[in-house]
């Protein structure tokens, strides 16, 4: 019911690179310097992700999932290591260039929605277009309405986040993430604040976008049922990848067994 989404017009350059890795992480480290202590959130992560993949990122709390997601989403920069996105070294880019990549190539969905308060669903969805090159006001509106209709909120255009349910808010956030037709859609526990039925709807939406539109999807989740939908599971623990497998049960047990090893 949620989606009857048509194929997104994929960036031609992305199509040309389908064979090569969309994302190349090499020995990524992230150290938070808190003065007295240094927290090493990522301790040498290397990973290739191809266009069209559907990934789930799992791991215990504090294992560095969000840190990794923010890095891949160009919201944050690694302390060391190399991150190439579509063959471009992201670590060297200026703040402006990274903003442009976030705007054009990446759709990010947060656990807590991160919608502008006291701002209508329509305006929230239009927001990325405001920062994209020359899209007319009419065109922005048209596209935002179309996108809200696709996520089933065609009748909630003027509602503010405060006037929407959690699931509706997250769908507004997804519409916002998709408005610029990104090739990479990321969700950091996008269903963390939703009940199980709404979660399923949202996850179905992600799955459709991946299968029907070829969008690369990376999700962080604590829920094995959600992780099961992904074709590839990355298990993270203490800032390192401990398992990279299509088998959810294997990933889960590896997290578990190591946990038991650590605490005798």
């Amino acid at each position: 019911m949620l989606l009857s989404m048509h194929r997104f017009a994929c960036d031609e350059r992305d199509e040309a690179r389908i064979s090569m890795a969309l994302i190349e992480l090499r020995d990524i480290r992230k150290i938070y310097d808190l003065g007295e202590v240094q927290v090493e959130a990522l301790r040498g992560v290397s990973l290739d992700i191809h266009q069209g993949e559907h990934l789930a990122l799992v791991g215990p709390s504090g294992s560095g999932k969000s840190t990794l997601m923010n890095m891949v989403g160009c919201l944050d920069r690694p302390t060391s290591g190399s991150y190439r996105l579509a063959d471009e070294e992201v670590g060297n880019l200026t703040a402006d260039r990274r903003a442009r990549i976030r705007n054009r190539r990446i759709g990010f969905v947060f656990q807590n929605f991160n919608l502008l308060a006291r701002t209508s669903a329509l305006e929230n969805v239009e927001l990325p277009l405001l920062y994209a090159a020359s899209v007319s006001a009419r065109e922005r509106r048209r596209r935002a309405i179309a996108m809200l209709e696709r996520v089933g909120l065609g009748d909630r255009l003027g509602h503010h986040p405060g006037q929407l349910s959690g699931g509706q808010q997250q769908r507004v956030a997804i519409a916002r993430a998709l408005i610029n037709e990104p090739s990479l859609l990321m969700g950091d526990e996008p269903t963390g604040n939703l009940d199980s039925r709404t979660s399923r709807e949202v996850i179905e939406l992600f799955q459709r976008l991946n299968e029907d539109n070829g969008i690369t999807v990376i999700l962080v989740t604590h829920d094995p049922e959600i992780a099961r939908n992904a074709k590839r599971i990355i298990a993270l623990r203490d800032g390192v990848i401990v398992q990279d497998t299509p088998d959810i049960d294997l990933a889960w047990s590896s997290l578990h067994s190591q946990e038991q090893e650590v605490e005798p």
Partner: protein, 410 residues
């Protein structure tokens, strides 16, 4: 422009905060506008007073002769014959009158009265001063040569001494000498300095010299000269200067024993003084504008902190630092411009009110409300500048926020 719309929307979201932010600028601009307007009214007042005085008037006064910085005491150097020479020998001079200051009480019947001005003058006086008579006539050359005991009085004396009766032909006593009132001056009102000009008695200068002061010398305190036209002012001044240098046998290089000034110069000096006063008042008011600007900065800074999440969200979906900078800067400039407009309107209202108040408090003064368009434009530009100046720092702070930290900000 896109960011413009973003800024307007953001402002509309919090009208209360916007209102408080502009308050300082409103007050500042209102104060500047009022001060400048009042100052300009004052200058205009000065101008019109000088026009009333007659703009082509030249004043010649004796100057004590200086020699090597040592002042040589002695008689004032300007004589009635000098004045007569100016009148007859300078082609650009239309009229000239000697002026001798007198003082004392005027008695009529059993009323006495002290005029604020008592002058001995020549027949040209009324022409030079551009001052018509209301009744009667003025003294003639013959009155002057015979030191006739006649006088012309101003409206204040008419009111104080004669009330309703006709003063013409009446005799008043000055220093126990009887004078016949032969004319009454038109009322002139207060001058620039708020002094009443109608409290005046005029007599032939010879009468003052001989009869009141018992002097045989014909020295005068000053001479008032009018040129034939505004254009001939400087010619007349030159002619007078040459004539007097020659008459007083002053060699080139020696300091002159007289001064020739025209009222224009005086007006210019006074204009400069009122201009300086206006500037001073405006700068004091300007300080309040700066305080207003600091207010903008303060609230913008709070607003940046308060809106950290909003900034993080905008950055996460692709706003570049310069987009954020522009948005906050435009918000600040919009706020201060709106404040500037409201302040200007308030200032216009305040100066109108103040002018009316001045006019009712000091009767007789007719201040005009001066609202200058350039002042309005400058006030507006200044408000915008205040917005840019004080909005820049908070806006820059906003643009430098880290997207992730901003999103995490509670």
């Amino acid at each position: 422009m896109l960011t413009f719309r973003v800024a307007i929307r953001a402002l509309a979201k919090n009208k209360m905060r916007a209102g408080l932010t502009i308050l300082g600028v409103v007050i500042g601009i209102a104060a500047v506008t009022t001060m400048v307007s009042i100052g300009q009214s004052a200058s205009q007042m000065v101008q019109s007073q000088f026009e009333m005085l007659g703009t082509n008037v030249i004043v010649v006064r004796p100057a004590s002769r200086r020699s090597g910085g040592v002042q040589i005491a002695g008689m004032p150097s300007l004589t009635a014959r000098d004045v007569e020479a100016i009148r007859t020998e300078c082609p650009s001079v239309m009229a000239a009158t000697a002026m001798v200051r007198a003082g004392g009480q005027v008695i009529y019947g059993n009323t006495n009265w002290s005029p604020s001005e008592m002058w001995g003058v020549g027949p040209d006086y009324l022409t030079v001063r551009n001052w018509p008579l209301r009744h009667g006539g003025f003294f003639t050359e013959r009155d002057v040569s015979s030191a006739a005991k006649v006088c012309v009085i101003g409206q204040t004396l008419v009111r104080e001494l004669f009330q309703t009766s006709d003063p013409l032909g009446q005799t008043i006593r000055i220093a126990n000498i009887p004078f016949e009132v032969i004319g009454v001056l038109e009322p002139k009102g207060v001058n620039l300095f708020g002094q009443e000009q109608d409290n005046i008695v005029l007599m032939p200068y010879t009468t003052v010299r001989k009869r009141l002061q018992g002097s045989e010398f014909d020295h005068v305190h000053l001479a008032m000269v009018s040129a034939r036209s505004m254009q001939q002012m400087s010619d007349a001044q030159n002619e007078i200067t040459h004539l007097l240098l020659e008459r007083h046998r002053i060699h080139p290089g020696e300091p002159a024993d007289f001064e020739v000034q025209n009222t224009d110069e005086f007006a210019r000096v006074l204009g400069m003084i009122t201009g300086t006063m206006t500037m001073l008042l405006a700068s004091i008011a300007g300080i309040s504008l700066i305080v207003g600007g600091v207010g903008i900065m303060n609230i913008m800074l709070v607003s940046v902190t308060e809106r950290t999440r909003e900034i993080g969200i905008r950055m996460a979906v692709g706003a570049r630092p310069k987009d954020i900078l522009r948005q906050f800067l435009i918000e600040a400039v919009l706020l201060s411009c709106i404040g500037g407009l409201i302040g200007f309107a308030l200032g216009v209202a305040a100066s109108t009110g103040l002018t009316m108040l001045i006019n009712t408090l000091s009767s007789g003064s007719e201040w005009q409300v001066v609202i200058s368009v350039p002042a309005g434009i400058i006030a507006f530009l200044f408000a915008a500048a205040v917005g840019i100046f004080f909005g820049y720092y908070p806006a820059r702070r906003a643009s430098r926020l880290d997207p992730i930290e901003s999103l995490r900000y509670e």
